[in-house]
Amino acid sequence: MTILTRKLLRDIWRARGQSFAIAMLVCAGTSEYVGVASVQRNLQLTRDEYYADCRMANFFISLARAPRSVADDLREIPGVRNVQGRIVKDVNLGIEGYEESRTGRIISLPDVRAPVINDIVLITGRYFEHRSTSEIILSHAFATANKLKIGDTITASINNRQHTLHIVGTGMSPEYVYMIRSAQELIPNPDRFGVLWVSQTFAEQSFAMQGACNDFVGTVERPAEIDRILNTASSVLAPYGVFAKTNRKDQTSSFFLANEIRVLGIATAIIPPIFMGVTALVLVVLLNRMVRHERTQIGVMKAFGYSDASVAAHYVWFALVLGLAGCLAGYFGGVLVVKWVMQIYIRVFQFPTFRMDIYPIIMLQSAVLTMVCAAAGAFGAARQAARIEPAIAIRAEAPKYSRRIFLERFNLIWGSLSFSSKMIARNMARYKFRAVFTLSGVAMSTAMLLMGWFLMDAVNYMIDFQFSQTQLEDVRVLLNGEQGKDTYHDLQRLSDVKAVEPVLQYPFEARTNWRKKEIAIVGIPAQSTLWRLIDTQGNRVEIDKHDFVLDERLAEQLGVQPGDELVLKPLMGRVPKERRVHVTKIVKQYLGMGSYMEIEALSRVLDEPFAMNTALIRSEWQRARELDKGLRDVAAIASVRIKEDSHANLKKSLGESMRAVNVIILGFAAAIAFAIIYNSTIVSLTERHRELAALRVMGYLPSEVGRLIYNENLLLSAIGFVVGIPLGIGLCGLIVMAYENDLFRLPFKIGLRAYALTILTTFCFVTVANLAARRKILQLDMVEALKMRD
């Protein structure tokens, strides 16, 4: 070991607190980068392999009913590789031992196992053996959540008949990786919704659809051509009443999965650069001080014949060793992050197997990034060390020059300051860079904290707004197809029902001069009390038969304002009839995007006097569950949702993931705040230890000496906080934009609670850093400090 290497290791040991803080920063950044980037790649590869193995469809077309042979016509479209017809229907399920209703999506598969599009992976059990019997393969998550196993039976009401279905296996499908019934639900609820794969023969018989199907799935040669293919396919299928045509990108499960991968990408792009930047800054402060402090030593080394380069390299090595240590620790952290996050994903996403890999290329990238930042942080100090002239350096340094600072021109203010305040003010002026450094560290950490607390609040606000301000029913009932007034009256007569409101939801294509979007228009009664619309000012909006109401976001996407005209084309029904409407009002909505009309007006657009496909029910006080039981046997009902459950479920799952995100953000903010404040405090203590020792000798208590340092930190933190708040508001805006999608938009509302918690946490970090500094003040060796000249 050369002498310089030995000095290097001892220097690191001597500054171990600071070295540790720097290594921790690198470790945090590396774990995050390696962990999250690996998770992202794992998720992506797992998905791609799964999609390829099981032939995930490139497009999905649902319609009323079409002969199965139409698939042959669709196969003729240039660019289409394969098309298959199937039967897909939602039914109400009954499971022994559970009272609440469950929704099952029946999907037909060939009687004999064949390599179909959207093939399933059998997790347990076997494929169908008796073609016409009621054997089913159940989606694995649903079976697990309801403790169902092979050999058990469940009941389903299919075409007004109760069928007993026999479970022969459990499986997964690439179509239902994220297992939700529709995009509006946001969060999987595995015990309430499941997929039931049945044999084609059974499906055709029980739904009376011999030789027919209501869903086509297809694969294409080149995904880029998907729009053209879908358009051609819809014109081929026009006579059969196309309900919806979806490409893989927009398919519910695929969309959520892709969104998750995208968000992970954002996290890997944003967080590590922050860490590396902070690391470089901390190194600048630490190493510059070290070079100043060791000026004489450097001079002596050079006088003995060490080259400029070897002395400069010494300080670069210091940074690289810490970077490397942090990086290696970060790899272990990365493994933990992968394990932890993948655990969450295993619960959320239904994949038969998960990749849990760490990728050497990602590790290499992060190591290179770390080394570059470390070297950059050391560059200034190394250059200074190289430039030191031995003849000058071995003489004592000229005393630091102090001058009057700007504030002193204001006699009234300056005169009223205590000497300690003056000392703090002059000190900040003397070490401007360090003051700016501390300040920006606090600002950065404040901004991150605000973002973390905001995220939690925003998600809660979004959910509560939806469930306590707009969605006021107790039970939501989805009906089988459109029903008339009779069903409405039937529901009113049920026991435990206090009030019923009909709702009609219908898909349209909305078109302006240059924009086009598929939307679902919701028809609600004029005086609706169960589906309340709220405008951007927070006031209630009444709807009448002339109104066409859009929510803010949809209006933005379509580029329309009140008074503008839209062309609506119904997406279901055999005769596409276009209708022109004027946007009359804009409402606020965070979950989903909505457009609203009065229910009878909407019915008339469809050439019906009155139609409903959903009912909102207000139950008698606390009777929602009994009502649910009663509804199970009503033939017209496809599924029942109790609002309380949806609310709780959404809050639990979204809240849980936001808490996890916030924990990570808090940790990062703490690491940054601590590393920066601690480091600049220690540097400041080292540089001023003689003057602080002199104060101690003079009879200043450690707490009085400490106050000089704490107050300086507090002042800088206060300024940093003030700077950090707008920065944080900006970050929150960015995160709102990053998270925004068709499913939800986070409300850009930062509550007092978020500000208060941010202040509190920032203050805690500063206090912890101060406590660490306090230890050093107590350890000040007065005798030693005063004996020596710097």
Binding site: S418, M423, L695, R696, L701, R789
Partner: protein, 247 residues
Amino acid sequence: MNQPAAEPDASSGRNVVFRIEHVRKEYHVEDTVVYALRDASLDIFENECLVILGPSGSGKSTLLNIIGGIDTPSSGRVLFRDTDLSRYDRNALTMYRRVNIGFVFQFYNLIPNLTARENVEMAAEISKSAMDPNEALGLVNLELRKDHFPSQLSGGEQQRVAIARAVAKRPDILLCDEPTGALDVSSGKVVLQVLADVNRTTNATVVIITHNAIIGNMADRVVHMTDGRIRDIVVNHERATVHSLEW
């Protein structure tokens, strides 16, 4: 001991401020023990000017630091007006320094980003009976330089500010560790003159440690130290004026 404060000394008739009894100080550096003080006993009287002479390593700084309450003896006692300093905890020692002690160091140790006057104010701020900072600066003839920063003052001037800072608290005793060690002869004499004046006008006991034997001539008594022991104590019946000192 239950005697009244400041017991009169039989030989000189003056009151004892410090009674140092068999003080030892040893430092443990890894496996070796370094003896800084081996059995030192000494009385220091009120308002006297005491010079402690000795080569480096003789233990004089250690003795001064123990008297000043920034170091503690390994054994033996230091009585300050009958109170045993070794019974004091850290805080009590701090308060003791705050009220009773003024320190002057070889390298001044002024706060670089406070002006001369602010450096003095800093000491005055924590003392109940402090002098007006201007008055303290007047004692050291620096009223005109009071708004200068340490970097704008010469070494001798900086040391005078340091003395003003020490004196401003009206300490009972002024402890000076090589106060002229970093100064040329003429600046050194100005500083010594200031110390002599302070000793005369403020009733403070002044203890100066130095390796410069000439300075001993301005003292009431000179203590010679070697190898951690007090070798002898010489009483000057006639104090020399600072003016007459040459080295």
